[in-house]
């Protein structure tokens, strides 16, 4: 089981409260977790990754275990605390503005 914490606007869109818990086969990666997230909540398709390029939206970040994974390969294994659900994967809306 993988724990994912969405930004507030996406929790509203997906109609969830608190963390989302997902089942992911094998070693979890950003790609497999996001695939599972979008499969369970189709309304999130296109909101985290661009529909066509599958690239992370520029104002979103992926944090885990106090590290920024945003620039990691989407196929890199996620840290073990994410894989064993002792830590959540955080999807963060970057602070923008002045």
């Amino acid at each position: 089981m993988i724990r994912v914490l969405l930004p507030q606007h996406l929790r509203t869109l997906a109609q969830v409260h608190g963390e989302v818990q997902l089942e992911v086969e094998g070693q979890p990666t950003l790609r497999s977790v996001l695939d599972a997230l979008e499969a369970r909540y189709p309304m999130l398709c296109g909101t985290i990754r661009d529909h066509n390029t599958q690239q992370r939206r520029p104002f979103l970040r992926f944090f885990a275990c106090e590290e920024d994974l945003s620039h990691e390969s989407p196929d890199a294994p996620l840290p073990q605390p994410i894989a064993n659900a002792t830590e959540p994967l955080l999807i963060i809306g970057a602070i923008a503005g002045g």
């Binding site: 930004p7 606007h9 996406l10 869109l13 309304m43 398709c45 296109g46 909101t47 985290i48 661009d50 529909h51 066509n52 939206r57 104002f59 979103l60 809306g93 970057a94 923008a96």
Partner: protein
Amino acid sequence: MSKVRVLVGTRKGAFVLTSDGKREKWDVSGPHFAGFELYHLKGSPVDPNRIYASQCSGWFGQLIQRSNDGGETWEAVGNKFTYDGVPGTHQWYDGTAHPWEFKRVWHLEPSLTDPDTVYAGIEDAALFRSTDAGQNWSELPGLRGHGSGPHWAPGAGGMCLHTVILSPTDPQRIIIAISAAGAFRTDDGGQTWRPINQGLRSEHIPNPTAEVGHCVHHIAMHPTRPNTLFMQKHWDVMRTDNAGDSWHEVSGNLPTDFGFAIDVHAHEPETIFVVPIKSDSEHFPLDGKLRVYRSRTGGNDWEPLTQGLPQSDCYVNVLRDAMAVDTLDSCGVYFGTTGGQVYASSNAGDTWAPIVRDLPAVLSVEVQTLS
């Protein structure tokens, strides 16, 4: 008893304003989708409880929302807008070739006959259609592919397809407008298109009478006169009586003919409304006076409508999709401002009053007249 529902899109959410036919007391619902930009909401003429909304943000991209109960509840539907084939390039601000990239949906136009069919005008400019109530979207590629597409360039607000007019008499005819490419028409249901810009003159482009490149801000049509169109161009108010084959200027005695919004009286096809804005570098009313101008002669002769509107120190803008009319016997006119006011007139512009004063900047206003 008749009822009016005003759909307001703002920089930070959508609002639904409702009143009875007197249009004196209003209920305000919202914000829906708080925090998101709502570029446009529009109801189906066939099923008024079916409403489509374009929701977007810099963080989460584009969403399309659909309501089946008049805006009380909403459901996210399809938001995948993929250009047909290899998108190619258009001109960038510096004249270089720039790849076509989807940014947002500016305008949603529900079909006049089928509540499940809806058109979307997007940035970078293209026209999409859904025939399953917004779940799936397909481009009508003949528009971008008709030949002039590589020469289109964005206006200051982006290269947006912002106006979609469906002919009430010819289901094969659609008229669209793009900033800053101009107006285009199809007479075969969207397969083939041609520019309809003859008569437009734009001094800010190298060839002022070029076939494409004109910054059209909005076009309005009265449903009983589908060949007569009124256009607010960047500068100039224009008119055609042959569905765009040729245009002529009807700015007449307007104090400034720059502006964005234009609309036609529901029952008088020769009565039109504009909101003159000072200039393209000063997007606010002339002299700080918010005035709607009305022509009862299809243009050229204009009268200022000021009663109930601020006549000093007013420096808001009225954007292209932010004016609409209802179809009650005494035609109601509505517009929203970038200052967050939505003004209504229940007597075709003679007098005005704000429905709300302090919304986020208003991007669009549409009206539904309900029986």
